[in-house]
């Protein structure tokens, strides 16, 4: 069960922080250019943080108590492959879901 105090601290500070991140450059930096080394790192935040977050969920799924699981692993690969080749998030979710359910039905 999620601790109520941490939940509310996180919700409030995340809201304030997310707004801050979205506003600070528009407001404070204004039209001044940002240093290129900073932009170069910021460009890769999403593509670094999201995979880092998702990798343990795929390799050690919570639902199987952290045991590597074939249907989930295959579904993850299918999602990546469909998303990579179609460049379409919805198609990837659909491909992943179909693979997961087929895998759970056949292997589970």
């Amino acid at each position: 069960m999620i601790d109520r105090t941490s939940l509310w601290i996180v919700m409030i500070l995340l809201a304030v922080g997310s707004f801050g991140l979205r506003f600070v450059f528009t407001d404070i930096i204004g039209d001044r250019p940002m240093p290129s080394w900073l932009l170069r790192h910021l460009r890769y935040t999403a593509v670094a943080v999201l995979p880092a977050l998702v990798a343990p969920m795929v390799v050690w799924p919570a639902a199987t108590d952290g045991m590597m699981d074939a249907p989930r692993m295959i579904a993850a690969c299918a999602t990546l492959a469909v998303g990579y080749f179609t460049r379409n998030t919805m198609a990837a979710i659909f491909g992943g879901a179909v693979t997961l359910y087929s895998g759970l039905y056949l292997l589970g």
């Binding site: 941490s6 999403a46 943080v49 999201l50």
Partner: protein, 240 residues
């Protein structure tokens, strides 16, 4: 004359934003479901989704809160997921930075992947627009997105507990994230950044408090920046 044009950039935005209904609906439904499964009340779920308004970071926070991660790490990791918004804000600034403060504040709150991407496309497509046309278009794009995000979160929260365990909803979050990541892997540099982040994330699980995630994120960012620099230098050298 100008007011008709203004109105038209807003409505052009609405039209261009409409297809995102298909992306936002399932993602918001899923957040509602996952949040209530994690034990959040409807009020808490709605408070979270309306104030933060950034799906990926909301999922991150829920996931880590459920793992009993220290509050500060939950917060830093979720904010790290939103760091890209800072980049969006920075790159939108030349085009909407001249708008009044209240409009910029609203635009900041409404900065999401879709509104950013469409606005930057519009910069290329309609070079003759001024600041007011651009901010009108921006607000147009989010008009179909934001209310639907709230509404579908609520629907998800209301029906969440009715979904049986056989649906393996545990894996809906990783699939959704992977589906967002895959189209971002546009270049070798992006793939290198993601690869290093994954390897670090899987090998740094011994680091306490889930701090490995933050280290892995930094590792991926540094890799991306470094590879980009090396490839740029090589390209320049090749041209000379």
């Amino acid at each position: 004359m100008t007011s008709t044009k203004r109105k038209s950039t807003y409505w052009t935005g609405v039209r261009h934003g409409a297809p995102f209904i298909l992306v936002v609906t399932p993602f918001a439904l899923l957040f509602g479901v996952v949040a209530t499964e994690a034990g959040l009340s409807i009020v808490e779920t709605m408070f979270f989704t309306i104030t933060t308004f950034a799906g990926a970071s909301q999922f991150t926070a829920l996931q880590l809160l459920g793992d009993n991660t220290p509050t500060i790490v939950v917060l830093l990791s979720s904010l790290a997921v939103n760091l890209r918004m800072a980049m969006y804000s920075a790159s939108l600034t030349p085009y909407i930075g001249g708008a009044p403060l209240w409009q910029r504040a609203f635009a900041a709150y409404l900065t999401v992947d879709q509104s950013y991407a469409m606005s930057m496309l519009a910069v290329e497509r309609y070079p003759d627009w001024d600041t007011r046309d651009r901010i009108g278009y921006f607000f147009g794009v989010v008009t179909p997105i934001a209310p639907l995000w709230y509404l579908m979160t609520l629907v998800g929260a209301l029906v969440g507990s009715a979904i049986p365990a056989g649906f393996a909803l545990d894996f809906a979050v990783p699939i959704t994230f992977l589906a967002m990541i895959a189209p971002m892997l546009r270049t070798f540099t992006h793939i290198a950044a993601a690869f290093v982040a994954v390897v670090l994330s899987l090998s740094l699980t011994f680091v306490p408090f889930n701090l490995g995630l933050i280290l892995a994120g930094f590792g991926g960012m540094i890799t991306g920046a470094f590879v980009e620099l090396v490839l740029d230098r090589r390209k320049e050298a090749g041209h000379d």
